[in-house]
Structures are given as structure tokens and as C-alpha cells.
């Protein structure tokens, strides 16, 4: 057997899981360090790889579970649904893209909003979902973000937004761009009311989302290793025709350049969020 055949045979060898006939979802390979992780362990560890600290992307449900008091979340405006008002068709109809995403996620849109408590402290909450059409911001996402900001203006509880979005939703044309102005305008009102606003920038936060409400927090926290940028790395490489340096546009790079206050690992996030909302909230002073 030549050495090439030997390698070919070795590559074709069944994986460890296949050999032992273990169901596929018991183990998961870390996309960053390739370590095989036991799914149960990963879930206990906030879906963070205990070898390399890689943060797996979370659904809104998982974030609620990990970071907020049990059963405290009350969802609002879950009835808002997107429509294909431009009859936009690229390789697929936008309407069928929506349908597929809704069936897969069992949700109407890429953001979930409502109120929840964190160590019994009430907060207003928006959690974006990259798994729904790349977390892109169309009319519904813009409307729901605006509604939760307006709720915070009204009820004066701090606002926390988890951003996780590729940017504006192209299939809704210019109206999706206008959601940037709509959400940012509402934040001006919130700022005047002196209600604390914290953003947690998750992987990825880019384009129209980063260039609007994501970057307007009183405090900005980034999850480790998240891509946070205005233009995507591929677009920049094509424009400047250079390879980008390692770690460019990652959370740690943003911290170094003064764009975020901290990079916080998920297991520490709940306590940090609780401390910040209580320390900032002027209504806490009154209570004392």
C-alpha cells in the first residue's frame, strides 16, 4: 500500500460517533477549536466551548433561559408579520423566504421583544435572531425595536437589546433603510427620559443594525469573538484589495478601538447586566 492509499483509507475511516453508533446530537464539534463537546456539558456552560471560549450563537429562547429570571418574560407584539410589499424576487420570492423562515423558527420575525426580570429587576428587552433571515432588519424588526423603546420611554425600566443581525433587509428596499432612522429617533426620546439603555452585541452585528440602535447604547457590551462592523470583511477586502489583519472587526478589536465598554463572557453576563442596570437607573437612588 502506497502512502497515498494509506492516507486515503485513513481519511475515509468512520468517525468516532459513527463507529459507536451514537445519535448525532449527543456530541458537537466546536467550530473554532474542533474539540468534540458533549452537548449536555455545552448547554450547562451557556453554550460556550470550555476549551477555547468560543461562543455558539443562541436563539432568543436560549438567551432568556440563560440570562433572565425563570418564567419572567412576557412577550409583546408577537403578532406583527412581514409582508412582501415590493413583490421582490431574486433567486427566490421574498414571500417564500419569509414562509420558510417562519416554519423553521416557529416565529413571525427576527426579533423578540417584551419585559423580563433579571434578579427581580424589571427590564425591557429585545433579542434579535440571526437564524431568521440573517436577523435582517425590515419593517417588522424596525417597528418592534421602536415599540420596545417607546415602552421603555413609558414605563421607565431600563432597556437591553441583544443585537445579532446582518443589517438591513434588502427585500424590503428603501423602507428597511428607513428603519435605521426610525429606531434611532426613538432612542433620542429614551435618552431624554434618562432611561438606561444597554446593548449586547452578539455575533454578528453588521450593516444597518450596527449603524443604528446597536451603536447607541449608554453601555455597550460585546460577546467574545463576535463580528461587529459597518461593512463586512469581504466587502472591505474587495475594496482595498488587501488581506485584513487577524481579529479585525472582532469584539476585542472594538474594545481596543474604544467602540465598546467591555467584552464579557456569557457566564458572567447576567451579573454584569444586573449590576449595570441597577447602578445606572436613577429610580434606584430614589428607592434607597
Amino acid at each position: 500500500m502506497s502512502i497515498i492509499d494509506w492516507f486515503a483509507k485513513k481519511q475515509k475511516a468512520p468517525s468516532k460517533a459513527e463507529r459507536l453508533n451514537i445519535p448525532g446530537d449527543l456530541w458537537i464539534k466546536c467550530p473554532s477549536c474542533s474539540e468534540v463537546l458533549f452537548t449536555k456539558d455545552l448547554e450547562v456552560n451557556y453554550k460556550v466551548c470550555n476549551h477555547c471560549n468560543f461562543h455558539f450563537r443562541l436563539s432568543p429562547e436560549e438567551r432568556l433561559l440563560y440570562l433572565f429570571d425563570k418564567n419572567s418574560f412576557v412577550e409583546s407584539d408577537s403578532n406583527l408579520k412581514p409582508i412582501d410589499f415590493l413583490k421582490f424576487k431574486d433567486t427566490q420570492q421574498y414571500s417564500s423566504r419569509i414562509k420558510n423562515a417562519q416554519q423553521k423558527s416557529k416565529k413571525h420575525e427576527a426579533v423578540t421583544i417584551g419585559q423580563a426580570s433579571i434578579n427581580n429587576k424589571m427590564v425591557n428587552l429585545a433579542i434579535m435572531d440571526f437564524f431568521f433571515l440573517g436577523g435582517s432588519m425590515g419593517s417588522v424588526v424596525g417597528e418592534k425595536i421602536t415599540k420596545i423603546i417607546e415602552a421603555a420611554v413609558e414605563n421607565q425600566h431600563p432597556l437591553i437589546i441583544f443585537t445579532m443581525s446582518g443589517g438591513a433587509r434588502m427585500q424590503e428596499g428603501l423602507l428597511s433603510l428607513m428603519q435605521m432612522a426610525k429606531t434611532s429617533s426613538a432612542l433620542a426620546l429614551l435618552s431624554e427620559k434618562k432611561v438606561p439603555y444597554i446593548t449586547v452585541l452578539c455575533d454578528p452585528t453588521t450593516g444597518g443594525t450596527s449603524a443604528s440602535f446597536a451603536m447607541l447604547g449608554d453601555i455597550q457590551i460585546a460577546e467574545p469573538g463576535a463580528l461587529i462592523s459597518f461593512a463586512g470583511p469581504r466587502v472591505i477586502e474587495q475594496t482595498i484589495r488587501q488581506k485584513l489583519p487577524d481579529g479585525f472587526q472582532k469584539s476585542e478589536f472594538l474594545l481596543e478601538h474604544g467602540m465598546v465598554d467591555m467584552v464579557t463572557s456569557r457566564p458572567d453576563l447576567k451579573e454584569i447586566l444586573f449590576d449595570l442596570v441597577t447602578l445606572l437607573d436613577p429610580r434606584e437612588e430614589v428607592k434607597k
Partner: protein, 317 residues
């Protein structure tokens, strides 16, 4: 020398033929008057046919025409007095955004606009009208000064988009744009915006959160460039033609979406040969709007702007 666009070539060829015939008729003393008249008529009809049936993709080409009027020139044509102002006071003066203070029919205004060049050398200096964060911070600095001294703001939008580059990202392109959106929304002076060429995405909106938005007839305003959309969604950069149709980016489309408040008509085929008449129409619009806003209380001006953007969006409840 005015650049000739691909679809304009048949028209230009006919006019060249007419010139040749005229010369021939003069030098050879041949009677060609009838023939010339016939071709002139045909040229006129052809011009009408081509320019009244422009595809969105062709309109994009007019919007990007190198001889299209630029912000600085329009400031000078519209204002009696105009003093350019520079710098963001933090990093540098970004040549992709220009601004200054002036008067329009005696009324004080702060003017801000994206600035493209008319040739390669100037375009390199202006970074093809693609601002860095310091450009947006300069714009904000001028707008805050306008607010401080109660001076109305006029902005001209003409950019392919905010610059996607290393330094731009390092210095917070996203933050600079986001801040402008928020701060513009709370200004109590009136803000009037014109898309004079290309309205490219967030980089355009960053000086466009206005009370009134006007599109020049052959300008475009889009969430992403047709080329960008084609390569991402259509998986084929050559489908920019199709993407420009789907995205609804022409002045008529943007009016239809309820985002623009009006369209400023241009001479047939675009303003690149006639800046003066265009500037007169723009001036008329600005003067009339400023007159109206003088009667409105500052807080109501802010509320009007907030309400306008608050109502944008199409969805099902």
C-alpha cells in the same frame, strides 16, 4: 467633454450626422435642407423615445454621470453668499463631505453635502464621495452649530455609500452614522434634504433624516447598490440591471413608497448639461419650504420629523 452613456449613443450619432450634412450643404452648395429637417425630426423623436423609457439601470448611470452637478457647485449657484467650513475637530477634514454657512434669498442656512469629483484626480481626492467617520462627524458638528444658532439645515445627498475601509472601521463608521441619525431626529431647526445623484444606503441616510426629502428626477436612493444586491441576493454581479428594478430606487418609486416629498424635474436626459436651471428650481423649493417653517414652532418641527419616520414601514398586524 461630457461623457456619453451607452444608451445615448444612437442620439449622439444622429446629431453628428446632422452636423456633417450641414457642413456638406454649406461647402458643396448642395440643397440638403429637406434631408436635414427630416433627420432632425427623427433625432428629436428618438431622444424622446429613449429618455422617456429609461430603465432604472439607465437612470443609475445618469445619477452617477461624471458631469452631474456636485454639492459645492450647487451651494454656490443657490446661495448669494456661501462660506465653506472644514473639519470635525477630532481627526481631520474629510473631503468627501463639504459644508458651510450661507444665505438663500437673505435667509441664513447651513449647507452640508456629499462631494464627488468630476474627473479621476478629483475623485481620488474626494474618495468618490464615500465619507469616513470624520466626514459624518464634521456634518454633525455643523448641524449642532445650526441648532445652537437656530439656522435651518439643507443637505445634498450624493454618495455610493459610507467608505468600507480599514481606517473607517477602526474609527467607528457605524457609530458615526448611528449618532447622526439620532441627533438629526432631535433637531428643532428644519432640515431639508435633496438626493442630487446617488443615495447610497446608510452613508446617504446619515445626512438625510430630514423634514422634507426631495429627489432630483434622475437621482436614485437605495438600501444597497444594485451591484451589491445582485452579487449577494442574485448570486451574480452581472444582474445589477434586474436588481435595480426590484429595489425600487428611482425618484418615482421613492415617492411611491412615501419616503420622498417631491421630485425636482430635470431637463430631458439629466442635468449634466444644465446646472443653472436645476439650481433655480432647487432654490425655489428651499425658499418656499423655509418660508413655511418660519411659521412653525421649533418643537413642532422636531415632532413633524419624528412622526414622518415613525410611520415608515409596511407590515401585517
Amino acid at each position: 467633454m461630457t461623457k456619453i452613456l451607452e444608451f445615448e449613443k444612437p442620439i449622439v450619432e444622429l446629431y453628428e450626422k446632422i452636423e456633417q450634412l450641414k457642413a456638406l450643404s454649406k461647402s458643396g452648395n448642395i440643397e440638403l435642407e429637406k434631408e436635414i429637417q427630416r433627420i432632425e425630426k427623427r433625432a428629436k423623436k428618438l431622444k424622446m423615445d429613449i429618455y422617456s423609457n429609461l430603465s432604472p439601470h439607465q437612470i443609475v448611470q445618469i445619477a452617477r454621470h461624471p458631469n452631474r452637478p456636485d454639492s459645492s457647485s450647487l451651494f454656490r449657484l443657490i446661495c448669494e453668499k456661501f462660506i465653506p467650513l472644514h473639519g470635525d475637530r477630532q481627526f481631520r477634514d474629510d473631503p468627501s463631505i463639504v459644508g458651510g454657512i450661507g444665505t438663500i434669498k437673505g435667509q441664513r442656512v447651513i449647507l452640508i453635502g456629499h462631494q464627488k469629483g468630476h474627473d479621476t484626480k478629483e475623485n481620488i481626492y474626494r474618495n468618490f464621495g464615500m465619507p469616513h467617520p470624520e466626514g459624518y462627524r464634521k456634518a454633525l458638528r455643523l448641524m449642532e452649530m445650526a441648532q445652537k444658532f437656530s439656522i435651518p439645515i439643507v443637505t445634498f445627498i450624493d454618495t455610493p455609500g459610507a467608505y468600507p475601509g480599514l481606517g473607517a472601521e477602526e474609527r467607528g463608521q457605524a457609530e458615526a452614522i448611528a449618532r447622526n441619525l439620532r441627533e438629526m431626529s432631535s433637531m428643532t431647526v428644519p432640515i431639508i434634504s435633496f438626493v442630487i445623484g446617488e443615495g447610497g444606503s446608510g452613508g446617504a441616510l446619515a445626512i438625510g433624516v430630514s423634514n422634507k426629502l426631495y429627489m432630483l428626477e434622475y437621482s436614485v436612493y437605495s438600501v444597497i447598490s444594485p451591484e451589491g444586491c445582485a452579487s449577494i441576493l442574485f448570486r451574480d454581479a452581472k444582474k445589477a440591471d434586474e436588481a435595480s428594478k426590484s429595489l425600487k430606487i428611482t425618484s418615482v418609486d421613492v415617492m411611491g413608497l412615501g419616503i420622498a416629498d417631491g421630485v425636482i424635474p430635470e431637463p430631458m436626459g439629466g442635468s449634466h448639461n444644465d446646472w443653472k436651471n436645476l439650481s433655480k428650481d432647487m432654490k425655489k423649493q428651499i425658499v418656499s419650504d423655509l418660508k413655511n417653517y418660519k411659521l412653525i414652532k421649533p418643537e413642532a418641527i422636531r415632532q413633524e420629523r419624528y412622526k414622518k419616520f415613525r410611520e415608515m414601514g409596511e407590515f401585517q398586524v
